[in-house]
Symmetry: C2
Subunit: 263 residues, 2 copies
């Protein structure tokens, strides 16, 4: 079920991450070009630049944050995709959400609480690092950023609400269609994918752990969707031929496009 406990990924995950010397200045932030993300203005960007302490890189499979610890750093995704998941004591794993460029990683750390989930890189990633202890300064000195932060938290909450509806009300095929559409659109909005297709390595085991299905049933349902020509999801590629058909198959409503602020 949880495939994160194989020896290799553990040893990789536990080595300390050196702060990379080179860092992108915020005024040249590559995320500016993402439709789907609304960039902060000049003043805010200066503030963010000062707040940002460094950059970090992780390779696919590495753990960025570990459930149960009190983290001292927050991150923001500059490049790549990650997952956020929780482990139960008996080894069951629930993947809670995927993280794309612009997303905030580890907001819980800001409130000196223990993390309730782990975060793992799905691709090689670059993250912006922010110190937790200066977090409160943010709200004081730049209200608009603080507002954006609340916005981001609310947005993430809405995403979880969507997933919750999926797990609670949709059957296996609908869930798969929903997740495929969700990921492809997230990818499109953050510059990771072309229209209708997302190149991202996701194993069926990970899909199963996200959707609350068994591995075998996930496999069979994926095949069914492939036969229906709705979603073609392979190890390295998710492609949705007819977005509207897939959306209606999965009973998705609401507007897919709401530009999000980021930090």
């Amino acid at each position: 079920m949880a495939d994160s406990d194989d020896p290799k990924s553990l040893t990789i995950a536990s080595r300390q991450q050196p702060a990379s010397a080179d860092r992108v200045p915020c005024k040249e932030c590559p995320l500016i070009h993402c439709r789907g993300l609304s960039a902060p203005d000049e003043g805010q960007r200066a503030w963010i630049e000062a707040f940002k302490s460094s950059e970090a890189r992780y390779v696919r499979g590495e753990q960025v944050l570990r459930q149960g610890v009190r983290a001292t750093r927050l991150f923001t995704v500059l490049e790549g995709v990650l997952i956020r998941y929780r482990l139960l004591e008996d080894g069951r794993r629930q993947i809670v959400n995927f993280l794309f460029p612009g997303d905030l990683v580890g907001l819980q750390a800001a409130f000196e609480a223990e993390l309730t989930h782990s975060v793992e890189a799905m691709t090689d990633v670059r993250l912006c690092v922010f110190p937790r202890d200066r977090f409160f300064d943010l709200a004081v000195s730049h209200p608009k950023l603080s507002f954006d932060l609340t916005w981001m938290a609310a947005r993430e909450e809405a995403a979880l609400e969507d997933h919750l509806v999926s797990l609670g009300q949709r059957n296996a095929q609908e869930r798969l269609a929903y997740l495929a559409v969700f990921l492809v659109q997230r990818g499109a909005a953050t510059g990771v994918s072309r229209e209708g297709t997302l190149r991202l390595t996701v194993t069926q085991s990970q899909i199963a752990d996200m959707l609350g299905l068994s591995l075998v049933h996930t496999n069979r349902s994926l095949q069914a969707l492939r036969r229906l020509k709705l979603v073609d999801w392979t190890l390295s590629t998710i492609s949705v031929h007819d977005m509207e058909a897939a959306r209606s198959f999965a009973q998705m409503d609401g507007d897919p496009y709401i530009p999000r602020p980021y930090i």
Copy 2:
């Protein structure tokens, strides 16, 4: 499935809610006495008082917010319990969360987005009303409150994460035990329930719609839990005899007590 479309509740729900003349001054806010809630200080309370525009009352079954509209007001729960749910086009309903005193209702409204869920009163409730358009002032003029707001959003997100794990990884009985423990503890923290028992009218149909189970299966699983002497859940009362046993049965970890700020 969705029982909210019976004619009676609809007519009740659609009448306009007169702003009640009498309102509790924030300095006498009854929530001060809730362990489980950390009260704002004097200065903050003054600011909240100025921000608060009125109070509203709803009776059990009334709709407070409706999915798909752009609300102009935010609420805070002063007294009572509500549910937040989403309807799918074919009538399936997913209850997303329960709202207890101190909780924020309709944060999405702050970002001029369409609401993705409806909110309905489970008991007679009293709400504090805040205008949406003065919301941004909050962040500017009182950073600590803005910080608390982010905190609350993050807390709600964590709760949804818990529910997501439940729907994704737990079987019917575990989900029921989890939900019972969750509700009783939420009730205890907000002064609604005595230790181990919560008096709150929840139909099995509502439980089913929260946990993604069929009505019949919910019924049978509840009976099973009753036979196991873990949870006794009737229409009007939830009682958990042995909290620790129930928590471990449902594979719940983490600290149940984190005092939350409120507004």
